[in-house]
């Protein structure tokens, strides 16, 4: 077994681990055993997993070992442990969506993204905690408690792809697939200090994934770095050449040269419309300075006020989610947790005319964003109000209390990325959101990658404050 990283050294990413597997320095079996050990050690406190698929992951690791030894390396996901938010089907493993409504639901087929991950040689280690049906507040009832933020277990991990962000931040997994209807990939990524990427909806097939609001739902990826997100995206994207790679079985070619890139800052979203914390604003300013140092040109951009975007998206979400769940609300509403059940009922109060106004207005807002991309290549704004709040303070109506910084780009369907850009006063991660033009996924990923190479503020995993934890951070070829 290889030696491990010392205390305080940066953890290994998916990409670094893949290079070690490719070079034969470590085997998929070693990697999966390390992941399963870390899950056993940490998950009883963090609750990132709903269902662990250890046997299947071990079997897949043995297969990957044999294939790689025989010279049949499939690409950078070959032999890498990853997970699925528990709204994504994996054949013969329960999809429960954190709800008693689906207590006995065991799909017989893989979702398209699951199949693509398997085809790429990834090791599916299990299903990850979500908010019930990927909406509302953290779910406290069966089948399991909410995931805990690994930087501070009393803090909110974000939602609804909470288990995915927690599993990656804590080093239990190298990557995960989530869903994002109003920021549900980007927000937990932000609060847990990992990268969260939501491409445009048309780029990832949603077959085999539970819906929440079909007009807004997107599939996204979470990982420690943007390069890792690019690897995951490359594997599951419908067109398979998403990041400029010549071949889907190669490492993504993320050009680091950002000279001349025009960046627009939607500053009014986070300084005027819904102000974020002072340290959050400072961290975004620092990130903009990094982009300037990389040769980008930065200017402010004004869009419609954030509450207008939020109202538009939230009306669409509530109406569509209510329509989807109405049969169960009539017949078996006792099987929902209180938070989701009551959140869904709000959708019953939205008239057909108001829903259509929201859809129409969403298209107009999206057009204004398209027009903004005539002047800039990338937009920058906030994704969260600041560091993770206390989990105990997240009530069932929290999603109504302040506008979402994520939902505008679900309404518009532009690709968006959350990356860590600093640590706040409490030592918890802060994040910035980058947004690209339609089909600008590659621009977004290379900008995030270049930023991380220049100024990644993370030098450790959460909880890596003693040699035992630090030893689980990664694998060193030395």
């Amino acid at each position: 077994m290889s030696a491990v990283l010392g205390l305080g050294e940066p953890p290994l990413s998916l990409a670094d681990t893949a290079r070690l597997i490719r070079a034969g320095v470590v085997s998929p079996e070693e990697v999966v055993e390390r992941a399963l050990q870390r899950i056993q050690d940490l998950d009883p406190a963090l609750h990132a997993f709903v269902t662990l698929a250890a046997d299947g992951a071990r079997q897949a690791a043995r297969t990957a070992r044999d294939e790689i030894r025989a010279g049949r390396w499939r690409g950078p996901l070959h032999g890498i442990p990853v997970g699925l938010k528990d709204v994504i089907d994996m054949a013969d493993v329960p999809t429960m969506a954190q709800s008693r409504q689906l207590a006995h639901h065991v799909p017989r087929q893989d979702a398209t993204v699951t199949r693509r991950l398997k085809d790429a040689g990834a090791l599916l280690a299990g299903k990850l905690t979500t908010h019930e049906f990927a909406f509302g507040a953290p779910s406290w009832g069966p089948p399991g408690p909410p995931a805990r933020n690994p930087w501070d277990h009393a803090r909110f991990a974000g939602g609804s792809s909470s288990g995915a962000a927690v599993a990656i931040a804590s080093g239990m997994l190298f990557g995960a697939i989530g869903t994002d209807t109003a920021g549900s990939v980007r927000s937990p990524a932000a609060l847990c200090g990992v990268a969260g990427f939501k491409p445009g909806r048309q780029h990832i097939d949603r077959c085999g994934i539970l819906r929440l609001a079909g007009s807004l739902d997107a599939v996204g990826v979470l990982a420690w770095t943007v390069e890792d997100c690019a690897i995951l995206y490359e594997a599951i994207a419908a067109h398979r050449q998403a990041t400029g790679s010549a071949r889907p079985d190669a490492f993504p070619m993320l050009d680091r040269d950002l000279r001349g890139l025009r960046i627009g800052v939607i500053r009014h979203f986070y300084t005027k419309d819904a102000p974020i914390s002072d340290d959050g604003q400072t961290a975004i300013e620092d990130a903009l300075e990094v982009f300037r140092s990389l040769g980008c040109r930065v200017q402010d951009v004004t869009l419609a006020p954030l509450p207008e975007w939020n109202a538009t998206g939230m009306l669409m979400l509530l109406a569509e989610a209510f329509a989807l769940h109405e049969p169960w609300l009539r017949g078996s509403d006792h099987l929902y947790g209180e938070s989701l059940r009551d959140a869904l009922l709000l959708g019953a109060t939205i008239t057909a005319a108001d829903y259509l106004h929201a859809c129409d207005h969403g298209r107009r807002l999206a057009a204004t964003l398209d027009a903004a991309f005539d002047r800039v290549d990338l937009l920058v704004t906030a994704i969260q109000p600041g560091e993770a709040p206390a989990l105990a303070n997240i009530g069932k109506w929290s999603f109504l209390e302040r506008p979402s910084y994520g939902i505008p780009f679900n309404v518009s369907d532009h690709p968006a990325l959350s990356i860590c850009c600093g640590m706040g006063r409490r030592g918890l991660p802060l994040a910035v959101q980058l947004v690209a033009a339609r089909n600008g996924e590659n621009t977004l990923l290379r900008a995030g990658h270049a930023y991380e190479l220049a100024a990644d503020p993370r030098d450790r995993r959460p909880g890596a404050s003693n040699p035992v934890d630090a030893a689980c951070n990664g694998i060193n070829p030395a």
Partner: protein, 60 residues
């Protein structure tokens, strides 16, 4: 728009909500109806925002 400031107004709003849901076959308790009636105020504000942005079928 804030028609739920007094207990009587809240009670009336809750009754309307409860009756509307009942027409769809969804039964809720009085206590839940009052809590939901308060939350629907925020949804109504969102609807007002979106309605204000609505355009006529043909713009002059």
């Amino acid at each position: 728009m804030n028609d739920r400031d007094t207990p009587a107004e809240l009670s009336a709003a809750a009754r309307r909500l409860s009756e509307m849901l009942a027409t769809r076959g969804i039964a809720i308790s009085v206590a839940r109806a009052e809590e939901l009636a308060l939350a629907t105020e925020r949804v109504e504000r969102m609807a007002t925002t979106v309605r204000a942005a609505a355009r006529p079928p043909v713009e002059p």
